[in-house]
């Protein structure tokens, strides 16, 4: 019983922790780029914020994941439920981490280009949505798992 809970909580920790850390890295990469771009074009701050905030989503997915799974985290949870929570958590955690990291790099390039006077906001947003798609897929897997256990 205790092992089941421990396994599930490790999964939750990886899910929330890794996806959150990914968002932290992604946002920091963008933030650094914004500081540089601000020196060139401070008037484009609105666009910078828009692009820089995109990698925050993966951390939110981790949080949603916890919210969906919290009902299973009881002393009565079965080994199957524990394994499912662990697996879904690991998947969302890792995919969320790398997705946010890579999305941050895409957005940082967009910020730098915007700072240099190019109008690339739309293109950057679309390109940045691609790496996020896989974090969404992981979240979908988690939703489906939470519906079957």
């Amino acid at each position: 019983m205790t092992f089941n809970l421990v396994l599930a909580y490790v999964g939750v920790a990886l899910m929330v922790g890794l996806s959150g850390i990914g968002s932290v890295y992604g946002l920091t990469i963008c933030g650094n780029s914004v500081v540089g771009a601000l020196k060139k074009r401070p008037e484009a701050m609105g666009t910078y914020i828009l692009l820089s905030a995109l990698p925050s989503t993966q951390g939110i997915y981790g949080f949603v994941g916890y919210f969906l799974l919290q009902g299973f985290l009881t002393p009565e949870m079965t080994p199957l439920q524990a394994a499912a929570v662990f697996g879904a958590g690991v998947a969302l955690g890792f995919v969320g981490f790398f997705s946010a990291l890579r999305q941050g790099q895409v957005c940082a390039n967009g910020v730098a280009a915007t700072g240099s006077g190019h109008n690339v906001t739309a293109g950057t947003m679309i390109m940045a949505a691609f790496p996020e798609f896989y974090a969404i897929l992981s979240l979908l897997v988690l939703i489906l798992i939470s519906g079957t256990i």
Binding site: L50, S56, I136, L139, L140
Partner: protein, 614 residues
């Protein structure tokens, strides 16, 4: 909505051209078509643009020196002729101020450094040196200070501060020795004299700033007039550069666009001036400028449209179509009735105090109302769960909360289900928008493929609805739905390109489109889950700060307990509100620009309508 335009081609005799341009500028309704090479190849224009940039920059800098409430002097004479001199004068004044500020900072730093050494006479120190006494000043960590130095090197401790010992050694001649301490070179003046210097610089700085302020009052309007006049000249130069000379340089040819509703007045003026012109409907390949014309509510959202890109002339303006969604999404992301009330109050304050920003004020009012409605419906007000409030017991079953509706939503949070549903609705709406757009641009047969997808998706959703309640449709309805789906599948697979001679050849692109739609739709729909997550996160954080305040404040006597309680609540909710506010703007923007625009097949690339006028 995009204002309908008329394209004009003017043909004017070269001697009358200047007069014609003056009259055209007076009319102020024609947007001149720019040639690609027009603006970059002219040295004069580049110089004018560079000067204008300097003037605009200086305007803001000069305005910062104008004291609050001061009335500016009116601009007289010819400010543009003196623009360069004015800029040089201002640059010199600001350079002086900057130099004094740097000097003051350096002297103040020196005052701090020298304060520990107290008051001394540099003349007496010099006299001691001349008499053969070598004085050296040191700083070392208190633990490194060796009292034996007092005997060996005649060390005297001046002071002890911050764990450091400041001391001086007095020796005859220049006997070399080394100590475990940092030697300091003293300033020729002690800190009191340095302080006097700093005060002198400060006075000078204040005087310079006052002089610059007086200069700003006298010249800010002159700079503004000069910049505006230069802007007019630049516009003029641009127009002349975008004019073609034809018929052995005797005729001038100019193209422009005018809003349809103003074309009658323009035509009357042109006829009266005996100008030859052609008025026609813009062709698809023309770079027709865009003037948005929306109702009061939609107009507030036009800056969002501009942030991405203006629609091109062949498109439909999406502003009115995403505006209600954006307002709802903002409310869902912020998700707290109390925070909505703050946004509403901020909007009203802007409307009251800053009439110039009234559009932003109204936008905040609408966003605030949306958030209040969402927050109250979902039972959250400044982090307080309304369903747990005693006096709201009679209405607690109406709040859209997990405890009331989770079971009805098959174990899922009702707000999560709502976020997904509103996402599906917006995507279907965007696809409908695309069908109308393609129909208007190319014709209905080109929109059939997208219409088939739209109908197929709606049909599929309708087929799935009975599953949720465990019922089934009547057989006839079921077959009708299958039939519609079948027709849609045929169109999707074989009608992706109506121009192909053999529609069977479309199957490849039909399958590829199906793959893209399946993978894209999934990501797009799930992306709306952020609406639920952000609202939930904001609400929970607000609730946590409330609990924290109660715990800390409740554990103390009442007379002092309220203080940490209020501090935690103000700080906590302030932080939560600020973060949630940023997210509530950014994430709806993303849903609009990525999910909505993608499914609506928004192209953009329109150029703003900027008429040639005074």
């Amino acid at each position: 909505m995009i204002t309908k335009m008329k394209k004009y081609t003017f043909l004017v005799f070269h001697r009358e051209y200047e007069q014609f341009l003056l009259r055209l500028r007076e009319a102020g309704v024609v947007h001149i078509t720019e040639k690609a090479e027009g603006s970059v190849e002219n040295l004069l224009l580049n110089e004018q643009i560079a000067l204008l940039q300097r003037l605009r920059k200086a305007q803001a800098a000069v305005a910062a020196y104008v004291p609050k409430g001061a009335s500016l002097l009116t601009a007289e004479g010819n400010p543009l002729a003196e623009a360069k001199a004015l800029l040089t004068e201002f640059d010199a004044m600001t350079a002086d101020i900057m130099q004094l500020e740097q000097k003051l900072a350096a002297v103040n730093k020196e005052v701090q450094r020298m304060r520990v050494w107290g008051v001394f006479s540099s003349e007496k120190l010099e006299a001691l040196r001349r008499a053969g006494y070598n004085l050296q000043f040191f700083i070392c960590n208190a633990s490194n200070y060796d009292p034996a130095w007092e005997t060996l090197y005649h060390a005297f401790v001046v002071t002890e501060q911050g764990g450091n010992v400041y001391f001086v050694t007095v020796n005859r001649n220049n006997e070399a020795f080394s100590l475990l301490a940092e030697e300091v070179k003293l300033n020729a003046c002690d800190y009191t004299r340095l302080q006097t210097d700093a005060e002198g610089i400060q006075h000078l700085l204040v005087a310079k700033q006052a002089k610059t302020a007086a200069w700003a009052i006298a010249n800010l309007n002159r700079l503004t007039v000069a910049a505006d006049e230069l802007q007019r000249r630049i516009d003029w130069t641009r127009v002349t550069l975008n004019t073609d000379t034809v018929a052995d340089q005797s005729l001038k040819l100019l193209e422009g666009f005018c809003p349809e509703e103003m074309s009658a007045a323009l035509n009357r003026q042109l006829d009266a001036d005996k100008i030859y012109y052609i008025e026609e409907t813009p062709a698809e390949e023309d770079a027709t400028p865009i003037q948005l014309k929306n109702n009061f509510f939609s107009r507030l959202f036009e800056p969002i449209t501009r942030l991405y890109s203006l629609p091109n002339y062949t498109e439909i303006d999406p502003t009115a179509f995403f505006a209600p969604f954006f307002m709802l999404f903002f409310g869902l992301c912020l998700g707290d009735g109390g925070y909505g009330l703050l946004v509403l109050l901020a909007g009203l304050a802007v409307l009251w105090k800053k009439p110039a920003w009234k559009d932003w004020g109204w936008l905040a009012v609408f966003m605030g109302i949306s958030t209040m409605i969402v927050g109250i419906l979902t039972g959250m007000f400044f982090g307080i769960e309304l369903e747990k409030v005693a006096f709201l017991k009679p209405v607690r079953q109406y709040f859209i909360t997990d405890s009331n509706f989770k079971e009805a939503c098959h174990g899922y949070s009702p707000m999560m289900v709502f976020a997904i549903c509103i996402g599906i609705f917006q995507i279907l709406f965007a696809m409908g928008f695309k069908v109308v757009k393609i129909t208007l641009q190319k014709g209905f047969k080109y929109a059939l493929y997208d219409l088939a997808w739209l109908v197929f998706l709606i049909d599929s959703i309708v087929m799935m609805l009975p599953m949720l309640s465990g019922n089934t449709f009547a057989a006839g309805v079921q077959y009708a739905l299958y039939g519609v789906a079948g027709v849609c599948v045929l169109l999707i697979l074989f009608y992706s390109n109506p121009d192909r001679k053999f529609l069977v050849l479309n199957i490849g692109s039909g399958l590829w489109g199906t793959y893209n739609m399946a993978s894209g739709l999934l990501g797009d729909v799930l992306s709306y889950i952020r609406l639920f997550a952000l609202g939930l996160a904001g609400g929970i954080l607000g609730n946590v700060f409330n609990q924290l305040a109660m715990q800390v404040g409740g554990g103390l006597p009442v007379w002092i307990g309220w203080l940490p309680m209020v501090l935690i609540m103000v700080f906590g909710h302030g932080l939560n509100f600020a973060l949630a506010l940023i997210s509530s703007v950014v994430h709806p923007l993303r849903l609009t620009f990525v999910e909505f625009y993608k499914n609506a097949s928004f192209e953009g690339g329109g150029k703003e309508y900027r008429p040639f006028r005074k």
